[in-house]
Protein backbone atom coordinates (compact mmCIF):
# COMPACT_ATOMS: atom_id res chain seq x y z
CA UNK A 1 0.00 0.00 0.00
CA UNK A 2 2.78 2.42 0.91
CA UNK A 3 4.53 1.60 -2.39
CA UNK A 4 1.31 2.40 -4.23
CA UNK A 5 1.03 5.73 -2.44
CA UNK A 6 4.62 6.55 -3.45
CA UNK A 7 3.84 6.09 -7.14
CA UNK A 8 3.93 9.55 -8.78
CA UNK A 9 0.99 8.66 -11.07
CA UNK A 10 -1.14 7.67 -8.08
CA UNK A 11 -0.05 10.79 -6.17
CA UNK A 12 -1.02 13.03 -9.09
CA UNK A 13 -4.33 11.48 -10.12
CA UNK A 14 -6.01 8.64 -8.23
CA UNK A 15 -5.18 9.85 -4.71
CA UNK A 16 -6.33 13.49 -5.17
CA UNK A 17 -9.40 12.34 -7.12
CA UNK A 18 -10.42 10.07 -4.25
CA UNK A 19 -9.58 12.67 -1.61
CA UNK A 20 -11.54 15.29 -3.55
CA UNK A 21 -14.54 12.98 -3.91
CA UNK A 22 -14.48 12.14 -0.20
CA UNK A 23 -14.05 15.71 1.03
CA UNK A 24 -16.66 17.17 -1.31
CA UNK A 25 -18.98 14.37 -0.27
CA UNK A 26 -18.34 15.00 3.41
CA UNK A 27 -19.01 18.73 2.99
CA UNK A 28 -22.10 17.89 0.92
CA UNK A 29 -23.46 16.12 3.99
CA UNK A 30 -22.25 18.63 6.57
CA UNK A 31 -22.96 21.90 4.80
CA UNK A 32 -23.80 21.78 1.11
CA UNK A 33 -22.87 25.42 0.47
CA UNK A 34 -19.25 24.62 1.37
CA UNK A 35 -18.85 21.61 -0.94
CA UNK A 36 -16.56 23.49 -3.34
CA UNK A 37 -14.12 23.97 -0.44
CA UNK A 38 -13.42 20.25 -0.82
CA UNK A 39 -11.28 21.03 -3.89
CA UNK A 40 -8.77 23.26 -2.08
CA UNK A 41 -8.93 21.05 1.00
CA UNK A 42 -8.17 17.99 -1.13
CA UNK A 43 -5.20 19.81 -2.68
CA UNK A 44 -3.81 20.68 0.74
CA UNK A 45 -4.23 17.13 2.06
CA UNK A 46 -2.41 15.65 -0.94
CA UNK A 47 0.32 18.31 -0.70
CA UNK A 48 0.94 17.40 2.93
CA UNK A 49 0.95 13.68 2.13
CA UNK A 50 3.23 13.85 -0.91
CA UNK A 51 5.59 16.75 -0.27
CA UNK A 52 5.17 17.08 3.48
CA UNK A 53 3.81 19.76 5.76
CA UNK A 54 5.97 22.87 5.23
CA UNK A 55 7.54 24.65 8.16
CA UNK A 56 6.21 27.93 9.50
CA UNK A 57 7.55 30.36 8.55
CA UNK A 58 8.07 28.66 5.20
CA UNK A 59 11.66 28.82 3.92
CA UNK A 60 10.75 28.32 0.26
CA UNK A 61 8.21 29.25 -2.39
CA UNK A 62 6.53 25.82 -2.23
CA UNK A 63 6.05 26.26 1.50
CA UNK A 64 4.57 29.73 0.94
CA UNK A 65 2.28 28.24 -1.71
CA UNK A 66 0.92 25.76 0.82
CA UNK A 67 0.29 28.25 3.60
CA UNK A 68 -1.13 30.88 1.24
CA UNK A 69 -3.52 28.23 -0.09
CA UNK A 70 -4.51 27.25 3.44
CA UNK A 71 -5.17 30.90 4.28
CA UNK A 72 -7.22 31.26 1.12
CA UNK A 73 -9.29 28.20 1.96
CA UNK A 74 -10.00 29.60 5.42
CA UNK A 75 -10.99 32.98 3.94
CA UNK A 76 -13.22 31.27 1.37
CA UNK A 77 -14.97 29.14 3.97
CA UNK A 78 -15.55 32.06 6.34
CA UNK A 79 -16.88 34.20 3.49
CA UNK A 80 -19.24 31.47 2.27
CA UNK A 81 -20.51 30.79 5.79
CA UNK A 82 -21.07 34.52 6.27
CA UNK A 83 -22.89 34.70 2.96
CA UNK A 84 -20.46 37.19 1.40
CA UNK A 85 -21.05 37.33 -2.36
CA UNK A 86 -20.75 39.60 -5.38
CA UNK A 87 -18.22 42.43 -5.56
CA UNK A 88 -17.24 42.15 -1.88
CA UNK A 89 -16.34 38.49 -2.35
CA UNK A 90 -14.40 39.39 -5.51
CA UNK A 91 -12.49 42.08 -3.65
CA UNK A 92 -11.63 39.70 -0.81
CA UNK A 93 -10.39 37.13 -3.33
CA UNK A 94 -8.35 39.75 -5.20
CA UNK A 95 -6.65 40.97 -2.02
CA UNK A 96 -5.81 37.42 -0.89
CA UNK A 97 -4.49 36.45 -4.31
CA UNK A 98 -2.43 39.61 -4.79
CA UNK A 99 -0.91 39.36 -1.30
CA UNK A 100 -0.08 35.69 -1.83
CA UNK A 101 1.53 36.36 -5.20
CA UNK A 102 3.68 39.15 -3.78
CA UNK A 103 4.72 37.00 -0.82
CA UNK A 104 5.74 34.13 -3.08
CA UNK A 105 7.35 36.29 -5.77
CA UNK A 106 9.43 38.65 -3.60
CA UNK A 107 12.69 36.60 -3.53
CA UNK A 108 12.56 36.15 -7.30
CA UNK A 109 12.12 39.79 -8.36
CA UNK A 110 15.72 40.27 -9.40
CA UNK A 111 15.18 40.93 -13.10
CA UNK A 112 12.88 42.78 -15.48
CA UNK A 113 11.58 39.46 -16.80
CA UNK A 114 10.54 38.40 -13.30
CA UNK A 115 8.74 41.69 -12.71
CA UNK A 116 6.91 41.33 -16.02
CA UNK A 117 5.93 37.79 -15.02
CA UNK A 118 4.55 39.09 -11.73
CA UNK A 119 2.54 41.79 -13.51
CA UNK A 120 1.03 39.18 -15.84
CA UNK A 121 0.25 36.94 -12.86
CA UNK A 122 -1.44 39.84 -11.04
CA UNK A 123 -3.49 40.51 -14.16
CA UNK A 124 -4.53 36.86 -14.24
CA UNK A 125 -5.41 37.09 -10.57
CA UNK A 126 -7.66 40.05 -11.36
CA UNK A 127 -9.41 37.98 -14.04
CA UNK A 128 -9.93 35.12 -11.60
CA UNK A 129 -11.23 37.48 -8.93
CA UNK A 130 -13.59 39.53 -11.06
CA UNK A 131 -14.61 37.17 -13.91
CA UNK A 132 -18.27 36.30 -13.81
CA UNK A 133 -19.27 32.64 -13.99
CA UNK A 134 -22.02 31.45 -16.25
CA UNK A 135 -25.55 31.90 -15.07
CA UNK A 136 -28.12 29.19 -15.58
CA UNK A 137 -31.60 29.14 -14.15
CA UNK A 138 -30.65 32.17 -12.06
CA UNK A 139 -28.26 30.10 -9.89
CA UNK A 140 -24.50 30.10 -9.82
CA UNK A 141 -23.60 27.01 -11.83
CA UNK A 142 -20.41 25.32 -10.60
CA UNK A 143 -19.60 23.38 -13.76
CA UNK A 144 -18.04 26.14 -15.84
CA UNK A 145 -15.76 27.56 -13.13
CA UNK A 146 -14.79 24.05 -11.94
CA UNK A 147 -14.01 23.09 -15.54
CA UNK A 148 -11.94 26.27 -15.91
CA UNK A 149 -10.03 25.33 -12.76
CA UNK A 150 -9.47 21.80 -14.01
CA UNK A 151 -8.17 23.17 -17.31
CA UNK A 152 -5.83 25.75 -15.75
CA UNK A 153 -4.45 23.21 -13.29
CA UNK A 154 -3.94 20.72 -16.13
CA UNK A 155 -2.09 23.36 -18.13
CA UNK A 156 0.25 24.16 -15.21
CA UNK A 157 0.78 20.47 -14.46
CA UNK A 158 1.45 19.48 -18.05
CA UNK A 159 3.82 22.40 -18.62
CA UNK A 160 5.72 21.65 -15.40
CA UNK A 161 5.92 17.97 -16.32
CA UNK A 162 7.50 18.83 -19.66
CA UNK A 163 9.72 21.43 -18.05
CA UNK A 164 11.76 21.19 -14.92
CA UNK A 165 9.70 20.59 -11.83
CA UNK A 166 8.02 17.33 -11.02
CA UNK A 167 6.69 18.47 -7.65
CA UNK A 168 4.88 21.47 -9.16
CA UNK A 169 3.55 19.15 -11.88
CA UNK A 170 2.29 16.68 -9.30
CA UNK A 171 0.59 19.32 -7.19
CA UNK A 172 -1.03 21.01 -10.19
CA UNK A 173 -2.30 17.68 -11.50
CA UNK A 174 -3.52 16.88 -7.99
CA UNK A 175 -5.48 20.14 -7.99
CA UNK A 176 -6.95 19.19 -11.38
CA UNK A 177 -7.92 15.74 -10.08
CA UNK A 178 -9.47 17.25 -6.96
CA UNK A 179 -11.50 19.55 -9.21
CA UNK A 180 -12.41 16.45 -11.20
CA UNK A 181 -13.83 14.91 -8.04
CA UNK A 182 -16.02 17.99 -7.54
CA UNK A 183 -17.16 17.85 -11.18
CA UNK A 184 -18.13 14.19 -10.81
CA UNK A 185 -20.30 15.16 -7.84
CA UNK A 186 -22.00 17.75 -10.10
CA UNK A 187 -22.58 15.61 -13.16
CA UNK A 188 -25.05 14.93 -14.59
CA UNK A 189 -26.91 16.91 -11.92
CA UNK A 190 -25.44 20.12 -10.55
CA UNK A 191 -25.76 19.78 -6.78
CA UNK A 192 -23.52 22.52 -5.40
CA UNK A 193 -22.71 26.18 -5.74
CA UNK A 194 -19.23 27.54 -6.39
CA UNK A 195 -18.86 30.33 -3.88
CA UNK A 196 -15.65 31.98 -2.77
CA UNK A 197 -14.27 28.60 -1.65
CA UNK A 198 -14.35 27.38 -5.23
CA UNK A 199 -12.83 30.58 -6.57
CA UNK A 200 -9.99 30.25 -4.04
CA UNK A 201 -9.16 26.88 -5.63
CA UNK A 202 -8.80 28.65 -8.99
CA UNK A 203 -6.54 31.13 -7.25
CA UNK A 204 -4.36 28.23 -6.10
CA UNK A 205 -3.82 27.31 -9.76
CA UNK A 206 -2.52 30.87 -10.30
CA UNK A 207 -0.16 30.48 -7.33
CA UNK A 208 1.17 27.23 -8.79
CA UNK A 209 1.74 29.01 -12.10
CA UNK A 210 3.63 31.73 -10.21
CA UNK A 211 6.04 29.26 -8.60
CA UNK A 212 6.57 27.60 -11.98
CA UNK A 213 7.17 30.89 -13.78
CA UNK A 214 9.41 32.53 -11.21
CA UNK A 215 11.46 29.66 -9.76
CA UNK A 216 12.06 27.23 -12.61
CA UNK A 217 13.50 27.34 -16.11
CA UNK A 218 10.16 26.33 -17.61
CA UNK A 219 8.75 28.31 -20.54
CA UNK A 220 5.83 29.39 -18.37
CA UNK A 221 4.71 32.03 -20.87
CA UNK A 222 2.85 29.24 -22.71
CA UNK A 223 0.37 29.23 -19.81
CA UNK A 224 -1.09 32.42 -21.27
CA UNK A 225 -2.52 30.20 -24.02
CA UNK A 226 -4.62 28.45 -21.37
CA UNK A 227 -6.25 31.66 -20.08
CA UNK A 228 -9.28 31.41 -22.43
CA UNK A 229 -10.35 28.47 -20.24
CA UNK A 230 -11.45 31.09 -17.67
CA UNK A 231 -14.21 32.12 -20.05
CA UNK A 232 -15.53 28.63 -20.87
CA UNK A 233 -18.74 29.51 -19.05
CA UNK A 234 -19.53 32.19 -21.60
CA UNK A 235 -19.57 29.54 -24.32
CA UNK A 236 -22.44 27.81 -22.59
CA UNK A 237 -25.04 30.19 -23.98
CA UNK A 238 -24.03 29.14 -27.50
CA UNK A 239 -24.41 25.45 -26.72
CA UNK A 240 -27.69 23.60 -27.22
CA UNK A 241 -29.24 23.20 -23.79
CA UNK A 242 -32.21 20.96 -23.29
CA UNK A 243 -34.36 21.41 -20.22
CA UNK A 244 -34.13 17.74 -19.41
CA UNK A 245 -31.39 16.02 -17.45
CA UNK A 246 -29.75 14.66 -20.59
CA UNK A 247 -29.57 18.12 -22.13
CA UNK A 248 -28.04 19.60 -18.98
CA UNK A 249 -25.55 16.71 -18.68
CA UNK A 250 -24.43 17.10 -22.30
CA UNK A 251 -24.13 20.86 -21.83
CA UNK A 252 -21.95 20.43 -18.73
CA UNK A 253 -19.71 17.91 -20.48
CA UNK A 254 -19.39 20.22 -23.49
CA UNK A 255 -18.36 23.16 -21.28
CA UNK A 256 -15.68 20.99 -19.68
CA UNK A 257 -14.31 19.96 -23.08
CA UNK A 258 -14.29 23.58 -24.26
CA UNK A 259 -12.43 24.62 -21.10
CA UNK A 260 -9.80 21.91 -21.49
CA UNK A 261 -8.99 22.73 -25.13
CA UNK A 262 -6.88 25.85 -24.38
CA UNK A 263 -5.02 23.85 -21.73
CA UNK A 264 -4.08 21.25 -24.32
CA UNK A 265 -2.87 24.02 -26.62
CA UNK A 266 -0.66 25.38 -23.84
CA UNK A 267 0.75 21.93 -23.08
CA UNK A 268 1.40 21.34 -26.77
CA UNK A 269 3.26 24.63 -27.03
CA UNK A 270 5.37 23.74 -23.98
CA UNK A 271 6.24 20.41 -25.57
CA UNK A 272 7.15 22.04 -28.87
CA UNK A 273 9.37 24.62 -27.16
CA UNK A 274 11.12 21.91 -25.17
CA UNK A 275 12.35 20.35 -28.40
CA UNK A 276 9.99 17.45 -28.01
CA UNK A 277 11.79 16.00 -25.00
CA UNK A 278 10.25 15.74 -21.57
CA UNK A 279 12.43 16.09 -18.50
CA UNK A 280 13.81 12.74 -17.34
CA UNK A 281 13.50 12.01 -13.62
Amino acid sequence: MSELLQDPFVQSSVLPLLVGLILVGALHLLRRSLAAAGIAAGFLVVFAMVIGLPALPPPSSMGKLFWASAAGLLIGVVADVAGIRGRVASAVLAVWLAASLLWIALPALDSAAAIVSLVVLLGTAACVAFARGSQTHGDESPTAPAASLLALALAVGGTALIGSSASIAQMALALAASAGGFLLWNWPVERHGWGLSGRVATGIAVLLAAVLALFTQTQAAVLLLALPALFAGHVRRFLPQGDGPVGRAVSSAAVTVVAVLPALVAIGAAFALSGGEASPY
Binding site: G52, S60, S61, S164, S165, A166, S279
Partner: protein, 194 residues
Protein backbone atom coordinates in the same frame (compact mmCIF):
# COMPACT_ATOMS: atom_id res chain seq x y z
CA UNK B 1 80.19 40.65 28.10
CA UNK B 2 80.01 37.95 25.42
CA UNK B 3 77.19 36.25 27.32
CA UNK B 4 75.28 39.55 27.52
CA UNK B 5 75.75 40.21 23.83
CA UNK B 6 74.69 36.66 22.98
CA UNK B 7 71.57 36.96 25.15
CA UNK B 8 70.69 40.28 23.56
CA UNK B 9 71.15 38.86 20.05
CA UNK B 10 68.98 35.85 20.92
CA UNK B 11 66.29 38.14 22.30
CA UNK B 12 66.29 40.29 19.16
CA UNK B 13 66.26 37.25 16.88
CA UNK B 14 63.32 35.74 18.70
CA UNK B 15 61.42 39.04 18.77
CA UNK B 16 61.86 39.48 15.02
CA UNK B 17 60.94 35.86 14.26
CA UNK B 18 64.36 34.91 12.97
CA UNK B 19 64.27 31.98 15.37
CA UNK B 20 61.36 29.62 14.85
CA UNK B 21 58.77 29.79 17.66
CA UNK B 22 57.86 26.65 19.59
CA UNK B 23 54.44 26.34 17.76
CA UNK B 24 53.58 27.18 14.07
CA UNK B 25 50.79 29.72 13.61
CA UNK B 26 47.78 28.93 11.40
CA UNK B 27 48.39 29.76 7.75
CA UNK B 28 45.61 31.31 5.70
CA UNK B 29 44.78 29.77 2.35
CA UNK B 30 42.25 30.62 -0.30
CA UNK B 31 40.59 27.74 -2.16
CA UNK B 32 41.85 27.47 -5.74
CA UNK B 33 38.70 26.90 -7.86
CA UNK B 34 40.74 25.59 -10.78
CA UNK B 35 42.04 22.68 -8.72
CA UNK B 36 39.05 22.03 -6.52
CA UNK B 37 36.28 19.52 -7.11
CA UNK B 38 33.13 19.04 -5.08
CA UNK B 39 31.41 15.98 -6.49
CA UNK B 40 28.51 13.87 -5.38
CA UNK B 41 27.16 10.41 -6.12
CA UNK B 42 23.45 9.63 -5.84
CA UNK B 43 21.64 6.38 -6.53
CA UNK B 44 19.18 6.49 -9.41
CA UNK B 45 16.26 4.14 -8.74
CA UNK B 46 18.64 1.28 -8.04
CA UNK B 47 19.89 1.07 -11.61
CA UNK B 48 23.05 3.11 -11.36
CA UNK B 49 24.68 5.97 -9.53
CA UNK B 50 24.59 9.44 -11.01
CA UNK B 51 27.76 11.45 -10.58
CA UNK B 52 27.54 15.21 -10.44
CA UNK B 53 29.59 18.16 -9.35
CA UNK B 54 29.40 21.82 -8.50
CA UNK B 55 31.53 23.91 -10.84
CA UNK B 56 31.67 27.08 -8.72
CA UNK B 57 33.25 26.62 -5.31
CA UNK B 58 35.10 29.08 -3.11
CA UNK B 59 36.27 29.46 0.44
CA UNK B 60 39.02 29.92 2.97
CA UNK B 61 41.14 27.57 5.02
CA UNK B 62 43.16 28.45 8.06
CA UNK B 63 45.54 25.53 8.47
CA UNK B 64 47.82 24.96 11.41
CA UNK B 65 49.99 22.02 10.48
CA UNK B 66 51.28 21.54 13.99
CA UNK B 67 47.98 22.09 15.78
CA UNK B 68 45.41 20.78 13.33
CA UNK B 69 42.65 21.16 15.89
CA UNK B 70 43.00 24.93 15.57
CA UNK B 71 42.38 24.89 11.82
CA UNK B 72 39.18 26.18 10.26
CA UNK B 73 37.46 25.70 6.93
CA UNK B 74 34.74 27.75 5.26
CA UNK B 75 33.39 26.72 1.87
CA UNK B 76 30.69 28.34 -0.28
CA UNK B 77 29.14 26.44 -3.19
CA UNK B 78 27.07 28.03 -5.93
CA UNK B 79 24.05 25.72 -6.29
CA UNK B 80 23.30 27.06 -9.77
CA UNK B 81 26.60 25.51 -10.89
CA UNK B 82 25.35 21.94 -10.38
CA UNK B 83 26.45 19.81 -13.33
CA UNK B 84 25.50 16.19 -14.09
CA UNK B 85 26.32 16.36 -17.79
CA UNK B 86 22.63 16.58 -18.80
CA UNK B 87 21.11 20.03 -19.34
CA UNK B 88 17.49 19.10 -18.57
CA UNK B 89 18.44 17.11 -15.49
CA UNK B 90 20.56 20.04 -14.29
CA UNK B 91 17.57 22.37 -14.79
CA UNK B 92 15.53 19.94 -12.72
CA UNK B 93 18.18 19.87 -10.01
CA UNK B 94 18.10 23.66 -9.88
CA UNK B 95 14.29 23.63 -9.53
CA UNK B 96 12.32 23.67 -6.24
CA UNK B 97 12.32 19.86 -6.38
CA UNK B 98 15.97 19.74 -5.38
CA UNK B 99 18.40 22.62 -4.82
CA UNK B 100 15.83 25.39 -5.44
CA UNK B 101 18.75 27.46 -6.73
CA UNK B 102 16.69 30.59 -7.37
CA UNK B 103 15.81 30.92 -3.68
CA UNK B 104 18.94 29.31 -2.26
CA UNK B 105 21.80 30.18 -4.63
CA UNK B 106 24.48 29.31 -2.06
CA UNK B 107 25.27 26.25 0.02
CA UNK B 108 27.83 26.71 2.82
CA UNK B 109 30.01 24.61 5.04
CA UNK B 110 31.65 26.00 8.19
CA UNK B 111 33.91 23.82 10.28
CA UNK B 112 33.31 23.54 14.00
CA UNK B 113 35.92 21.00 15.03
CA UNK B 114 38.76 18.93 13.65
CA UNK B 115 39.80 15.66 15.22
CA UNK B 116 43.17 14.26 14.30
CA UNK B 117 42.90 10.52 13.71
CA UNK B 118 46.27 9.84 12.14
CA UNK B 119 49.45 11.47 10.93
CA UNK B 120 47.68 13.02 7.94
CA UNK B 121 44.04 12.13 8.54
CA UNK B 122 41.28 13.54 10.58
CA UNK B 123 37.57 14.01 11.02
CA UNK B 124 36.29 17.41 9.97
CA UNK B 125 33.13 18.40 11.82
CA UNK B 126 31.09 21.28 10.51
CA UNK B 127 27.71 22.80 9.77
CA UNK B 128 26.34 22.35 6.27
CA UNK B 129 23.62 24.82 5.28
CA UNK B 130 21.48 23.84 2.33
CA UNK B 131 17.94 24.98 1.43
CA UNK B 132 18.01 27.23 4.49
CA UNK B 133 18.53 24.26 6.80
CA UNK B 134 21.72 23.80 8.85
CA UNK B 135 22.79 20.35 9.98
CA UNK B 136 26.06 18.98 11.36
CA UNK B 137 28.10 16.78 9.05
CA UNK B 138 31.36 14.90 9.52
CA UNK B 139 33.88 14.39 6.73
CA UNK B 140 36.89 12.09 6.67
CA UNK B 141 39.69 14.39 5.60
CA UNK B 142 43.24 13.70 4.48
CA UNK B 143 45.99 16.28 4.31
CA UNK B 144 47.87 15.39 1.13
CA UNK B 145 50.76 17.81 1.14
CA UNK B 146 51.80 21.40 1.22
CA UNK B 147 54.60 23.29 -0.44
CA UNK B 148 55.40 25.37 -3.48
CA UNK B 149 53.47 24.10 -6.47
CA UNK B 150 55.78 23.52 -9.46
CA UNK B 151 52.95 24.66 -11.73
CA UNK B 152 51.93 27.94 -10.11
CA UNK B 153 55.06 28.60 -8.00
CA UNK B 154 52.69 29.45 -5.15
CA UNK B 155 52.50 28.03 -1.60
CA UNK B 156 49.78 25.43 -1.89
CA UNK B 157 48.10 22.94 0.43
CA UNK B 158 46.03 20.00 -0.78
CA UNK B 159 43.28 18.04 0.96
CA UNK B 160 40.85 15.24 0.19
CA UNK B 161 37.54 14.70 1.97
CA UNK B 162 34.86 12.04 1.85
CA UNK B 163 31.49 11.82 3.55
CA UNK B 164 27.80 11.05 3.27
CA UNK B 165 24.79 13.27 3.94
CA UNK B 166 21.07 12.51 3.93
CA UNK B 167 19.40 15.03 1.65
CA UNK B 168 15.97 14.58 3.24
CA UNK B 169 17.36 16.00 6.50
CA UNK B 170 17.74 19.29 4.66
CA UNK B 171 14.19 19.22 3.30
CA UNK B 172 15.18 17.87 -0.13
CA UNK B 173 12.57 15.12 -0.12
CA UNK B 174 11.53 14.82 -3.75
CA UNK B 175 11.92 11.34 -5.20
CA UNK B 176 13.39 9.80 -2.05
CA UNK B 177 14.10 6.91 -1.59
CA UNK B 178 13.87 5.92 -5.26
CA UNK B 179 16.32 8.70 -5.99
CA UNK B 180 18.86 8.11 -3.24
CA UNK B 181 18.62 9.83 0.10
CA UNK B 182 22.25 9.09 0.99
CA UNK B 183 24.50 11.41 -1.01
CA UNK B 184 28.18 10.48 -1.13
CA UNK B 185 30.52 13.45 -1.23
CA UNK B 186 33.90 13.44 -2.93
CA UNK B 187 35.91 16.57 -2.32
CA UNK B 188 39.38 17.43 -3.58
CA UNK B 189 40.77 20.82 -2.63
CA UNK B 190 43.89 22.79 -3.41
CA UNK B 191 44.25 26.05 -1.56
CA UNK B 192 46.76 28.79 -2.19
CA UNK B 193 48.39 30.72 0.60
CA UNK B 194 46.71 34.10 0.99
Amino acid sequence: MKKTLFAAALFVATATGAVAPAFAAPVSYKIDPAHTAVAFIVNHVGFSNVIGRFNTVGGDISFDKDAVEKSTVTVTIDTTSVDTNHAKRDDHLRSPDFFNAKEFPKMTFKSTKIEKTGDKTGKLHGDLTMLGVTKPVVLDVTFNKDGVSPASKLETAGFSARGTVKRTEFGMKYGAPAIGDDIQLLIEIEAVKS
